[in-house]
C-alpha cells in the first residue's frame, strides 16, 4: 500500500468517528428536545409514561445518531477530497487517488502521484482533521441532561395528591355501604343471578362514587344511576301483592283450628316464624305427638278457597301446597299431611325470603333518595362539605368528619311502613326559606327634556380667531406634506396643477377674506381643469 493510501485510510478512520460524533450530537439534540418536551408534559399532566418516554427519547436519539454515523463510513475518494480542502492541496490528492485506482502508469500519472505524495508529506492527519467538539454539542448535552432531570423530577401518578372527595360524599357512601351489605346478606338466602348482578353493579357504583366523585354533582349522578339500577331490578321481586296475599292467608289460617300460631305469624309478616311453626307441626304429626288434623268440611272448604285465592293472585306454588294439604286432610293420611305441611312451610319460607329481598330493595331506594336529598344544596351539608374542603361548621351534617368526632347517625327502622319508598318527593331541594328579605322597593322616574348641559357653545370673536389659528396650523401641515410628495414622486403635471389650485382655494387668507366655510371637496371646475391638463 502506498503512503498516499495509508494516509487516506488513517484520515478516513478519523473522519468516520468525527462524522459519527457529529451525527450522534445532531440526532441526540433532536431526541433530547423531544424528550424534554415530553418531560415538560409530564410535569404539567403527571402520568405513568411521560418520564419513561422522555428518558427513552433522549437515549434513542443518541443511539440512532451513533448508529447512522457508524453506518455512513466515508469513501476513500471523499476523504481525499476532504484532505485536499483541509490542506489546500488544490485537488492533488484525490486526482492521485483516482489515477492510482485506475492503474494509470504513464509519466504524468506517476509525476502527479509523486507530487501529491510530496504535498502530503508535511501534513498530519491529526492536524488536518483535529478533534473538535461539535457545534451543537453543548446544546445536545444540556438538552439530554435537562430531559433526564425533568423526567426525574416529574411527579409520579401515585405521588400526585388525589383530588379531595367531598365530605358529604364520603359520609353518604358509608351509609349506603351498610345498606348494600344488608341487601347482599338478604340476597344470599334467595339464590338469584339477577340479585347477584345487582349487588355487584351497586357495589361498583358505590366504589366509583367513593373514589371518583370529586363533587356533589358527580355523587348525585352516581346515586341516580344506583336508583335506576335498583328500580329496574325490583320489578321481579315486587312483593306488595304477595304480602297482601300472605296476609290474607295468615288471617285465614289463624281462623282454622290448629293453624292459629302459624296464621298469626303469617298475618304479621313473620314468614320465617310461620315456616318454623308449620315445620314443627308437621314433625309433631309425623311423631304422633299431635293428633291428626280433623277432617271436616269447613277446613277443607277454607283451604280450597285459599288455594283458589292464591291461584288467582298468581301464587301457584302456594295454591298447590294448600291444595295438597286439603287433599291430605281429606284422605286422612298422616304422612301426606306431614308432607303437605312441610311443603307449605317451605313455600312460606321462600315467599318470606322474597319479601325480605323486596323490602331490602325498597329500603335501598329510600336510602338513595334520602342521600340525594341530603346532598342537595339545602340538604344539610355546608358548601365546603359538598364541593370538597374543610367543613364550615355550624349545623352542617359533615361537621367533625375526619377529625375523630362521632359522625351523624341516621335512625334505622327494621319495620318500615308498607308505603315506604313507594312515593317520589318532587321537591328535591326542600321548601322555600321562610326568611323575609329586607328589601325596599323604590320607583325612580326619569325627567324627560333637554336638561342642563355642561358644555356651553359660544359664538365669539375669540372663538373664531382660535378656530382660524388652528386651521392655519393644519393647512400648513398638509401643504408641506403635499409639497414633499410632489418633490419626491412622479406626479403627472395635470395632477400637480390640480393639487396646487386646490390648496390655493383653501388657503386661510382666502377663506378668511371670503368669510366662507371651507369645503374640502374638489369642485367640478377643478376636476375638469385637471382632466384637460392631463390630456395635454
Amino acid at each position: 500500500m502506498r503512503d498516499l493510501e495509508k494516509f487516506l485510510h488513517r484520515a478516513r478512520r478519523r473522519r468516520w468517528f468525527q462524522g459519527t460524533l457529529r451525527r450522534a450530537v445532531s440526532v441526540s439534540l433532536i431526541g433530547s428536545a423531544f424528550g424534554l418536551a415530553l418531560g415538560m408534559v409530564g410535569l404539567v399532566w403527571p402520568n405513568e409514561w411521560t418520564s419513561l418516554a422522555a428518558v427513552a427519547a433522549a437515549c434513542c436519539g443518541l443511539a440512532v445518531g451513533v448508529a447512522t454515523g457508524l453506518l455512513r463510513r466515508p469513501t476513500l475518494m471523499a476523504t481525499a477530497v476532504a484532505t485536499d480542502r483541509a490542506a489546500n492541496l488544490k485537488d492533488r490528492v484525490h486526482t492521485a487517488l483516482q489515477l492510482t485506482s485506475a492503474g494509470s502508469l504513464d509519466p504524468y500519472s506517476r509525476l502527479q502521484l509523486r507530487d501529491a505524495t510530496r504535498a502530503l508529506g508535511n501534513q498530519a492527519v491529526s492536524q488536518l482533521f483535529p478533534w473538535r467538539w461539535p457545534a451543537h454539542g453543548w446544546w445536545a448535552t444540556a438538552a439530554t441532561a435537562s430531559a433526564i432531570v425533568v423526567a426525574m423530577i416529574s411527579p409520579r401518578p401515585e405521588a400526585v395528591a388525589a383530588p379531595v372527595i367531598p365530605t358529604a360524599v364520603v359520609l353518604e357512601a358509608e351509609e349506603l355501604k351498610a345498606d348494600f351489605e344488608k341487601l347482599e346478606r338478604v340476597s344470599e338466602d334467595l339464590v338469584s343471578e339477577e340479585l347477584s348482578q345487582l349487588a355487584r353493579t351497586l357495589r361498583e357504583m358505590l366504589n366509583h362514587m367513593q373514589h371518583r366523585s370529586h363533587t356533589a354533582e358527580d355523587a348525585m349522578l352516581e346515586l341516580a344511576r344506583m336508583s335506576e339500577a335498583t328500580e329496574q331490578a325490583i320489578a321481579p321481586f315486587d312483593s306488595l301483592v304477595l304480602e297482601q296475599a300472605l296476609h290474607e292467608l295468615g288471617e285465614g289460617l289463624g281462623a282454622l283450628a290448629g293453624f292459629e300460631g302459624a296464621g298469626h305469624m303469617l298475618a304479621n309478616g313473620k314468614y320465617a316464624n310461620a315456616e318454623q311453626s308449620l315445620v314443627q307441626m308437621a314433625a309433631r304429626i309425623g311423631a304422633g305427638r299431635q293428633p291428626m288434623l280433623a277432617a271436616g268440611g269447613l277446613l277443607e272448604s277454607r283451604l280450597g278457597q285459599m288455594a283458589g285465592q292464591a291461584d288467582q293472585a298468581g301464587l301457584s306454588e302456594l295454591s298447590e301446597a294448600l291444595s295438597a294439604l286439603r287433599d291430605a286432610i281429606r284422605h286422612g293420611s298422616r304422612s301426606e299431611c306431614q308432607a303437605a305441611l312441610s311443603r307449605l312451610g317451605g313455600v312460606m319460607g321462600k315467599y318470606g325470603r322474597r319479601v325480605a329481598v323486596a323490602r331490602a330493595m325498597r329500603n335501598q331506594l329510600m336510602r338513595l333518595s334520602l342521600a340525594k336529598n341530603r346532598m342537595s344544596p339545602k340538604g344539610g351539608y355546608c358548601r365546603n362539605c359538598l364541593n370538597g374542603g374543610a367543613c364550615s361548621g355550624g349545623g352542617c351534617k359533615g361537621r367533625g368528619a375526619g377529625l375523630g368526632l362521632p359522625k351523624m347517625k341516621y335512625a334505622q327502622s327494621d319495620s318500615p311502613s308498607q308505603s315506604a319508598g313507594t312515593a317520589a318527593a318532587m321537591n328535591l331541594y326542600g321548601e322555600q326559606t321562610e326568611l323575609a328579605g329586607n328589601r325596599s322597593a323604590e320607583s325612580v322616574d326619569g325627567t324627560w327634556g333637554s336638561g342642563d348641559s355642561e358644555i356651553e357653545t359660544e359664538v365669539s370673536l375669540d372663538g373664531r380667531q382660535q378656530a382660524a389659528a388652528q386651521y392655519r396650523k393644519i393647512y400648513s401641515k398638509y401643504r408641506k406634506l403635499s409639497d414633499a410628495v410632489m418633490v419626491e414622486e412622479a406626479v403627472p403635471l395635470g395632477h400637480r396643477e390640480t393639487i396646487r389650485r386646490y390648496f390655493e382655494r383653501i388657503h386661510p387668507d382666502r377663506v378668511e377674506a371670503a368669510g366662507l366655510t371651507v369645503d374640502l371637496g374638489v369642485d367640478d371646475d377643478l376636476d375638469e381643469q385637471a382632466v384637460e391638463d392631463q390630456g395635454k
Binding site: 466515508p74 475518494m77 477530497v81 488544490k90 485537488d91 483516482q98 504513464d106 509519466p107 504524468y108 509525476l111
Partner: protein, 336 residues
C-alpha cells in the same frame, strides 16, 4: 517506467513555466499592466484557442497583439475590419492570370488569413457576412474557396479586438462565431500608476520593443505537453456542472440564471475551461487540474457564450455577475 522519464517530464514542465514567464516578461517590456489579460492570451495560445479582446479604443489591445507577434517567431498579419471589408478580402480569391503563352488560368490569391497570428482589429466593425468568413478558419484551420480547401499552417492563432457593442458603427458578432473564441478578455482602463508608466515609456526617446524568443514548433510542442495533464473525474464533473448551470432550464441553474439568461454556454465552454485549467495547473507547478483553475478561467471562457435576456439587459446585469453567482453556488458541489 523509470524515474528518469518522470524527471524528464518534470523538467519539460519546468521549462514550460520558464518559457511562459519569459514571454510574459518580454511582452511586459512593451505593455504596461494588463497582467491578467496577457496571462490569459498566452494561455489561449498554449492550448490552441483564439482570443477576443474587448475594450474602448486606445487601451493597447492592438499593441498587445502586435507585441505577441514580435515575441513569437511566427508570421503575423493584421486586418483592420471596416464595414466595406468583404470575405474575399479576408480569405483570398481566385484571380485570372495570363500565362507567358497567353493562356489564362485561375489562381488562388491567398488572403491575410494565411498566417500564424492573425490580428482581427475591431472585428465588430465589419458586417456579419465578413465576420462569418472567419468561422471555418478558426475552427477547422482551413479555408475553402471555389470548391478547394486550403489548410492553414499551425499554429494558427486569431486575436480579435472589438469595441464595446454600445458604440456607433458596430455589428455584434454572431453567437456561432463568438463560440469559436476560447476567451473573451476585457481590457480595462489602466490604473494611475500604470498610466504614468505608459506615458513615461511612450513619450521618451526610446521605443520599447520585445525580442523574439520562440517559434511555431515550440508552441506546438508545448501544446502537446499541456494537453496530457490529467484531470480527475470530480473536477471534470465540476466543470460540466458549471457549464450546465448556465442553462436556465437545467436543474443546476441558479436563480439568477433562470431569471436573466436566455441561452447557456455550449460544450465548447467546458473544453475551454479544462484546457485552460491545464495550463494554469502547470504554471502553478501542479500536474493536475483543480477547481481553483476552473474558477480562474470561468469568466473569460464563458462570458461570451451565455446570452442574456431582455430583463438582464434592462437591469444592467452582466454575464460576469451571473457567472460569479454560478461559481458561488456550485463551488462546493463535490462528492462526500
Amino acid at each position: 517506467m523509470t524515474t528518469q522519464e518522470i524527471d524528464a517530464l518534470e523538467s519539460q514542465l519546468s521549462s514550460f513555466r520558464e518559457i511562459f514567464g519569459r514571454m510574459q516578461n518580454e511582452i511586459g517590456r512593451v505593455i504596461v499592466g494588463h497582467d491578467d489579460v496577457l496571462r490569459h492570451v498566452l494561455t489561449a495560445l498554449m492550448v490552441g484557442g483564439h482570443v477576443l479582446l474587448e475594450g474602448v479604443p486606445g487601451l493597447g489591445k492592438t499593441l498587445l497583439v502586435r507585441t505577441l507577434g514580435d515575441v513569437l517567431d511566427l508570421t503575423f498579419r493584421r486586418i483592420q475590419f471596416t464595414p466595406d471589408l468583404m470575405p474575399a478580402d479576408l480569405i483570398g480569391t481566385n484571380v485570372i492570370l495570363d500565362s507567358d503563352s497567353g493562356a489564362r488560368h485561375f489562381e488562388f490569391q491567398r488572403g491575410p488569413v494565411f498566417t500564424h497570428i492573425l490580428l482581427a482589429d475591431e472585428i465588430n466593425r465589419a458586417t456579419p457576412k465578413t465576420q462569418s468568413a472567419l468561422l471555418e478558419a478558426m475552427q477547422e484551420r482551413s479555408v475553402t474557396v471555389g470548391g478547394t480547401t486550403y489548410l492553414l499552417e499551425e499554429p494558427f492563432f486569431v486575436m480579435a479586438t472589438q469595441n464595446p457593442l454600445e458604440m456607433e458603427g458596430t455589428y455584434p458578432l454572431p453567437e456561432a462565431q463568438l463560440d469559436r473564441f476560447l476567451f473573451k478578455l476585457l481590457v480595462r482602463f489602466p490604473t494611475t500608476e500604470e498610466f504614468e508608466l505608459i506615458m513615461e515609456r511612450t513619450t521618451g526617446a526610446e521605443d520599447p520593443a520585445a525580442d523574439r524568443i520562440f517559434d511555431g514548433h515550440d508552441v506546438l510542442k508545448l501544446r502537446r505537453l499541456v494537453r496530457r495533464v490529467p484531470i480527475s473525474d470530480e473536477v471534470r464533473r465540476q466543470a460540466i456542472t458549471m457549464v450546465v448551470a448556465t442553462h436556465p432550464a437545467a436543474e443546476q441553474a441558479t436563480e439568477m440564471v433562470k431569471r436573466y439568461v436566455r441561452y447557456g454556454a455550449s460544450p465548447r465552454a467546458g473544453q475551454a475551461m479544462i484546457l485552460a485549467g491545464k495550463v494554469l495547473a502547470v504554471l502553478d507547478e501542479r500536474v493536475n487540474v483543480s477547481r481553483e483553475d476552473l474558477a480562474d478561467v470561468i469568466l473569460p471562457a464563458l462570458r461570451h457564450r451565455i446570452i442574456l435576456n431582455f430583463e438582464a439587459q434592462a437591469e444592467g446585469i452582466t454575464p460576469d455577475a451571473i457567472l460569479r453567482d454560478v461559481v458561488e453556488q456550485h463551488s462546493l458541489g463535490m462528492a462526500r
